[in-house]
Each structure stands twice: as C-alpha cells, then as structure tokens.
Subunit: 339 residues, 2 copies
DNA sequence: TTGAAAGCGCTACCAA
DNA sequence: TTGGTAGCGCTTTCAA
C-alpha cells in the first residue's frame, strides 16, 4: 500500500493539515515548513489518494468521452484533441463506446451520477431519446457538450464543423470545373452529418442552377465498403454523373476503388471529392480532393467549452461552428469534354 | 447534488448498511426489504458515489491506457479491444498520451500511486528508463501489461503479435513469386517492432539464401510520409529491388504513392507488402498484400491479462504472442521477367 | 436479517 | 502560520 498523509505528516513533524496545504496551497505555509514537508514527500514519492481528495472536494477531475465506436480511426484525432484540451487543467480522460454502453444498457449519465466524471463529451449524435432526456435534465445539461455530431431538436452545447459550407465548397469547385451532373454518397440515414451535408450540397447545387436526382444519391454509412459498393449503383444512373460528392473520405476512397474496378478513371472520367481530410487522403491514388475539417481542434474546443462550463462560465452561444476548407488534390478535374 | 445513501435509507425506512447490502449483496437482504430499497433506489435513480466506494474498498475499478499518440489511428482498434476486455468486468478505461505525459513530466505511475487506476496497459515500448524503473518496482510491476510494443531487456507481462513470423510470411510469399532483390522499409530506429520485423525479414531471407544489402533498407518511422519519401531512395539502389517489405501499411501506401509518382508500377515492376492490415489496405490502389495482426484481440488480451493479474491470478508465462497471417491482395505479383 | 458505528485518506474549517 | 478535528459517502465488522 502506498504511504498516506498521516505518515508523511509524522515524518515531517507537522500535522496532516500542513502537509495538505504545503501541497495544494504552498503560499500558505512558511518556506521552512514547506521545504521540510516537500523533502519527505519527494523521498517517499507521495501522491495524495485521489478518491479521498475527490470525495472531499466533490470533484472528480475527470471527464468522460462517449464515442460511437472507439475502433473507428476517424475519432482518434478528436480524442487526441480532447486530451490536449484537458491536460493543461490536469483533468483525466475516460473513454467509452456508446455501442457497448447500449449493449450493457448503461447510461453514460451513470458516470456523472456516481461522481466519477465531472462532465461528458459526446461524439454520438444518435443517442436514444431516453438518454437524451437524462442528459437534458437541469443538473446534468451544464456538464455535457456534444462534439462533431449532435442530436437534433435539442439544445446542448455543441462544437461542430461547418458541414454545409464544406459541401458548398465542394460543389463550387466542381461547378467551376464545368461539372453539371452530380451524385452524392451520403452517410448513415438519420445521422445529422448526413443531413447537414446533403442539405449543404443541395443548396449549393441549387445556387448553381443544378439539382440532384434521387437516383444519384447512394451510400448509407461513412465506411469504405459502402463507397465501394455504391460506385456501381451510381454508374448505372441513366444520366451518369461526372462528379461525386462524398460525405467522408472513406466513402470517397472506397468509391474510387469501386470505380477503378469498373474501368472508370478518376479524375478523367469522374471527379470525386471527399470530406474530412484524413491522413491517408493525400496518399491515396489519386490524391484526394477533399474538405478538411480540423478534428483535433474540434476535440480541443469541446474540452475547453466543457471546462469553461464546469467552471461556471458557460459560453453565451451554445453552438460553436468551426470553419472548413477545401484541399484540392488530384481526384478532381474538368468535366469530360471540357478539358 | 445527487442523492446519497443516507437519504435512500431514510426513505426506505432502513439503515444505510441495508441499502448498501441490497445493492451489492442482494442475497443477504430479505426479499421484502430488498424490494423496498430497490423501489426507492430506482425512483431516485440512485448511484453510489464511486469515490466513497473506491476509498472504502481500495479499488478504483479503472485502468489506464498509455498510448504513444492518441491521434494515431493505428491505436484506435487496440483501444477498442481494451475497452471490450474491460467492459464485462465493469472497469472504466482512462487514456492518456505518452507524448503529452512526457511534456508535462508526469509519470503514468502517478495514477497508480494516487490509486486513480488499478492497473496500466502500456502501448509504448519506448518509455524512458526512469519510468520503466518505476514500473518495475515490486508494488507496481504486477499491475502493468505491455501491449503491441514492449521495452527490451525488461520482464513485463506483454501481449504482442508474432512480428518475426509475419515478416517471414511476407518473404516466403515474395520468394515464391520469384523475387530475389528485396528492400525493407523500417519503422523508427530503436523501436522494438522495427527490430523484430527487420530480424524476421533478415532471417527469412537468409533461409531462402537471400540477403538484404544495407542500401536497401530505408524508412525511419511508421508514417505514410516516410514511405513516400523512401520510395525514391530505394529506386536509386544499384541493384534495384523488385520486392519491398514494409513495417507498416502506412509505409506501404506511402511507398506505392511515391513509386507511382516515379512512374513505377505496382505490382508489375515492384511488389509491395505491408504490415497490419488496416481497414484501408483492402481499398488502396492496388489493394495491399499485407500481414494481418489482430489489433482488437491484442487489446482484449492485454485487458484480460491485466484483469487476471489484478485478481491475483497472474499467468505463468509473461509473454503472449498472437498469431499473424498473410492477406494476399494485388500489390504483389511474380518478379518481372518471370510472369 | 438488520442496525450502529468505525474508518477509508483527505481537505477545510475554526481556533490558537 | 499551524494544528485539531469534523466530515465527504460509502462498506463492513460486530452485535443484537
């Protein structure tokens, strides 16, 4: 068992109160006593038991991140950002998977109720209504922020990328290259990002006097595999598209892979634009034109917002929208016949 | 503030001891009392304060995962596996970045000392010697397991993939295709995986009567970028290799990208084999032949080993080596001139 | 089967 | 500036 404060106090010849103060409010202890205490502390490598401390101060100094799927590499950069935002404040990061939580029928609110975490950063916009109701309860709502995704029709503090603007950027780039027949590879049905990005695409298309026929919409997840599968469906359209907007880089890479199996060249025959700018995007063949969203910053902002909120300084505006930019690489080219 | 055990006891008309028992040892409470207590518990959605509990039972019910770089998607699958191994036992997962830890000069042992975590799963084999010494201390060593990477010359419990066998598989596959001139793209200098995989390659090459000239070794990290850069260097070898073994899929994808810039075709001119089998490997152009290591299982095993060890049943053998397999896709082909 | 009460290790109040 | 001490919320012994 590790050494305790009583033993440190005994060895330093002071009271436990003084040891505690020497550690957390050094200014309130005379320099000599402090030195004396610190010597013993360092000698024994003493660290205050965090549970006793948390119990007393009623603070966990930990935050829980609820991730839809921990195994999905898309989230790793966001998690790194969260950690980056938390670390300076000395706050620990707990992570859990909303899939496994649901299997075990545990609410993430349990962690807050058990005082195990001070706050919650939720990367899953698709939580069941019961859970959202719990999260919206007055004593909890101030301790949760959504990042990346968010639940619709609710009013949680949220940090997100400008998904609509991103799609608009993609449409404008493609339209400028002379493309007129567009297709869209969407994410999972019901996902907010799917909706935002679709609406962004439709609006930007309309602004360019273009439209998106229903048969030119495919997808159904953000995964590579679905991009691969959808490629075939899209190419069977009566009016074959020359430009494909994808709701994720994974979809785009899968789609290009599928197109290539069909003997269709990117970007000569068809242009493809991704979304996210994952690390591999620059090195896929061809290097992917995509919409970059700063996932690390997304995580960092979410952490900072949560910390502010926990410290009693909630932001005036519950919604933070981070800018995105288009990164033009080589998966897009002038529309065929307009080279 | 959340409701406490005293209030529940009062409302249920029993003592706090009975509430506690009803919750954690239901068999030791009469059915009527239990029902009575549970009714109040559910009505108020009561959850025992985890700190008070941990303080009393001297157990955190949490484990810390120390990851070299949380933002690296390679680790996400391992983390998912850890979580998967921990969840059935109701153990929480804390994550931290060894980079940021080092910047802040905090030892991960601090979490154990502060009783904040019961154990540590370390994915970083390159920790500084001081930290390793701390981890090797008798009261700590039984609570740490290394996964994926491990520190050399130490005797920690470790779960890893069979890196040497993996490279041997790659060499055998390529040799069978008639390749005689090999190159190797290695990971970071000093990394165990770099060494194991290099040794595996050299040994398997030797067994086939082949060797690896020093100029045919390049790399220096597991990152895509370095694969891309190394492609040029490798192609400048006097004896240009026809087969490139890569220590990671990222290196392989970067390398193929670099080769393609140079007008070198994969697999017609050069065959490339990766290592890991990341999700994108199957969809890169060309689909990557690679060595699959089961990262999720790696994480799960590590979690299970740690849990066993914490429960006082340490495994007899400190080293667990998981099998790997080769996945042949289309980045490898018969050596040129042997079609 | 149940309750009273000690005490886990710490912080913060109050008094000296 | 320092020490004594109550008490954070829970579990667990001991006795009834």
């Amino acid at each position: 068992m590790a050494i305790g404060i009583k033993e440190i106090a005994r060895l330093a010849g002071v009271s436990t109160a003084t040891v505690s103060r020497a550690l957390s409010q050094p200014a309130r202890v005379s320099p000599e006593t402090r030195a004396q205490v610190m010597a013993v502390v360092e000698q024994h490598d003493y660290r205050a038991n965090s549970f006793a401390r948390s119990l007393r101060v009623r603070r966990a100094d930990a935050v829980l991140a609820l991730v839809p799927n921990l195994g999905n590499p898309f989230f790793s950069e966001i998690i790194a950002g969260i950690q980056e935002g938390l670390a300076p404040a000395g706050i620990d990061l707990l992570v859990t998977d909303s899939l496994s939580q649901q299997v075990r029928r545990q609410s993430p609110v349990g962690h807050l109720q058990a005082a195990r975490a001070d706050g919650l950063i939720c990367l899953d916009g698709g939580l069941p209504a019961e859970v959202l109701d719990e999260l919206a309860a007055s004593d909890v709502a101030g301790r949760v922020v959504f990042a990346c995704e968010w639940p619709e029709g609710r009013h949680f503090t949220t940090v997100r990328s400008d998904n609509r603007a991103g799609m608009a950027l993609a449409v404008q780039h493609l339209a400028a290259l002379g493309h007129r027949r567009f297709a869209l590879l969407t994410g999972p049905a019901g996902n907010v990002l799917t909706q935002e990005r679709r609406q962004g695409a439709v609006a930007a298309l309309a602004a360019a006097g273009l439209s998106l026929p229903p048969e030119a919409i495919a997808g159904g997840s953000f995964e590579i595999r679905d991009g691969y599968r959808a490629a075939g469906a899209l190419m069977r359209c009566a009016e074959r598209p020359t430009a494909i907007l994808c709701a994720s880089d994974q979809l785009a890479i899968g789609c290009i892979s599928g197109l290539s199996e069909l003997g269709i060249r990117v970007p000569e025959d068809v242009s493809v634009v991704g979304f996210d700018d994952i690390a591999l995007a620059a090195y896929s063949r061809p290097p992917l034109t995509t919409i970059r969203q700063d996932r690390r910053r997304l995580g960092r902002s979410a952490a900072e917002r949560l910390l502010d909120s926990l410290a009693g300084r909630p932001a005036a505006e519950p919604l933070t929208t981070l800018p995105v930019e288009i990164v033009v690489r080589r998966s897009t080219a002038p529309a065929p016949g307009r080279g």
